[in-house]
Symmetry: C3
Subunit: 307 residues, 3 copies
């Protein structure tokens, strides 16, 4: 039995197979609409996340299965002191597969050890969010037709953003990827990624504090939230926000096939004026996230259909 | 693509078609049980409302579809600062139609502008609640066989009750409707309804403070809640409550075919002693509300079945 | 129309029929997967209980039906002052059967009086939790092949544990059951059970404060939580906890076919080191709880299938 706890749990070959399956599903969703009849997904969300939870639920419904679970810790047995280990053992009696979101790092790992059904980590604190990374890979592959030979810009909070670290890790396994890492100095990529991943694997990368000066070189721009309250005094924030808010004037400097991704929710780091730009791919990304989850559920449940 | 944001968004002809469809569904629900297979309704309830939410969910399930969503803002992405516009764009990737309840007036309108799926206003603050109005029309038509040529009494809080204003507006489009508006002086119908609708359209109406004196003239009595804490000192409340609480002694003054409607929940304005009176139609109204929502979902999704 | 409000609402014959049906379902769940197509279960949970709620939901989904409802009072109409009587009348318009969990004793009874659909008490305060008792009976019968001629140990909080009182009541209807009741003096079985049930029916029982000294005599050991904060000063707790925490050293004293049940959630009264012991039946009990709820839903809805 397989689980998905970390973005790198799947090999490159397995990831590529998953992406291929997701693209097949996207092309012909109807064909897959009975794959998981009589199967049940448990969504165990110890903290709220509408988008991720609804993505999983929709994925299972689109496969013909059904959904049980909870959307916050308040309405769970956690409030009675039940351990994650016992909860997953109970849920294993009800469901065929589980997606767990938990504020504590490692909770899905603990769950997987006591589970008799596949466990998907749907986000554990600041740690991992592997289905977001798979979504990002699928989106890039769908937009560009490849996952190699390109320059990927990542902009915003590179220090704390878990999706950023996972994406760098995942893309580093493909050939000839260059990164341009754009952030204020206070939010630079941490050493364990810079040295431990990029330098260790001889990946080409540039660090920059200025989005305008590098945007023309990018094939993909991955935007993330810079949380005002966290890191800046008000002066710094005002000084920096013009640099990192993506608007139509910045988009004029970018290539016609430079697509913008964002893990969402955005607050104001992407101006809504560019939502209609054909390069704005963040809502397309949402749809693709649902398809990759369909592919993931099928793969972990070992459900196959004839071609 | 159509939305339903206001009770008057549908013309009289469209409303009549909807009512006709709902009555067909009520007569033969089994015939419609596969209409929306593989379709998904998103219930986006930023404030709790069990009855309305369950009515929508039941409606979609009865059509063979399925449901995703949230039942309070706590368990939504709103708590992370996501805008209604972004939420509906995300939900448009998952569902085929959405029903939104929101404490802020106009939120469903905003959502409809950014949505790629039909949006139903399931209540926005004190503003509109169009599926309640459609329910009221269907109930009157089912009980009376017509929506014209009758005297409709509306009793209780006529000042703030959004369902009252919508119902007056909607019924005013039919011929020969007379209104008897029964309330304490403090809770009289506001000018924009009295002058802007009733007088402007030459609709006959009487204002009264006394239910007993007019009840015998009514074909329909629409009761609403008078909230104790809102408008009266204790003395006024005690003085008034006998006048506005419907009980069996008042029902003796009413005609045998004067049906009672109420948008629910009631607190104490209808005595439970008359729940078994054949003229008490407020629970029948609940059932009909589910049928009108089935008809509405089918209509907005442009789903048709052969007769 | 039948409801299930108390564990003794069903006669011994009816209970045995329910257990037989549940065992048939457990043997061949696929055969029952279409029993309740187009039927809807309403889960009306005025306080959270993940395990019980998900058990009911899974049961209905496994029968081919669907589920509506709420998982806490916050997201219900109760916050607007609607009575349980009115809520069940509304829900009767939507669903075919309801399962109600409520913090107030008697709420499901009130609901049943106003309901036009079967109501299952899914726990009302410290009062009754009949589907837990049915689960316990099914588990014992599955493990032992019988519900008579055995010695049943019940350990922990015998004073306040509602499941304990119900289980004693239910088992007392079978022949030749002996009880060994193990608890600290402060948490002994109350008089209305000791005198009103056990003595009144001439049931053999022993009261003990020491688990070690009696465990070898048991066919079944039913463990319950002893809540630290409730009854002991810290000294008493430390003194007592060794006596009542079941671990592998105690299990060495027990027979090879002495199975352990627990209504869950456990906190620390069963050491996790014995979870892999073949006699640890509390997670099997969870699965069986889902099967007995399938049998119960079928029975109350009068759904039958050909053998």
């Amino acid at each position: 039995m397989r689980h998905l706890l970390n973005p790198l749990d799947f090999s490159v070959e397995e990831t590529d197979a998953l992406i291929k399956l997701a693209m097949n599903i996207a092309d012909n969703p109807q064909k897959y609409s009975k794959c998981c009849v009589n199967k049940k997904l448990a969504v165990l969300f110890y903290e709220p996340s509408t988008r991720t939870r609804l993505s999983f639920e929709t994925a299972m419904l689109n496969l013909g299965g059904s959904v049980i679970g909870f959307s916050s810790a308040d309405s769970s047995s956690a409030s009675k002191g039940e351990s994650v280990a016992d909860t997953i053992r109970v849920v294993s009696c009800y469901a065929d597969i589980a997606a767990m979101r938990h504020p504590k790092e490692g909770a899905p790992l603990v769950a997987s050890r006591f589970s008799s059904i596949p466990v998907i980590n749907a986000g554990d604190g600041g740690h991992q969010h592997p289905t977001q990374t798979l979504t990002d890979l699928l989106t890039i592959n769908t937009l560009k037709g490849r996952l190699s030979n390109m320059t990927v810009g990542i902009c915003g909070d590179l220090k704390f953003g878990r999706t950023v670290h996972s994406l760098i890790n995942a893309l580093s396994r493909y050939t000839n990827i260059k990164f341009i890492l754009i952030s204020p100095p206070e939010l630079k990529i941490p050493d364990y990624i810079r040295d431990g991943v990029l330098k260790a694997r001889n990946i080409e990368f540039i660090e920059s504090t200025n989005l305008d000066s590098v945007i023309s070189k990018l094939d993909i721009l991955y935007m993330t939230r810079v949380q005002r309250e966290r890191f800046f005094n008000e002066e710094d924030y005002i000084r920096l926000k013009d640099t990192y808010i993506l608007d139509s004037s910045k988009m004029k400097l970018a290539g016609d096939d430079m697509y913008i991704l964002h893990p969402l929710p955005r607050v104001n780091e992407i101006s809504i004026e560019i939502d209609t730009d054909h390069r704005a791919a963040y809502f397309k990304q949402v749809k693709l996230g649902m398809y990759i989850r369909m592919a993931l559920i099928m793969t972990l449940l070992e459900v196959k259909i004839d071609d």
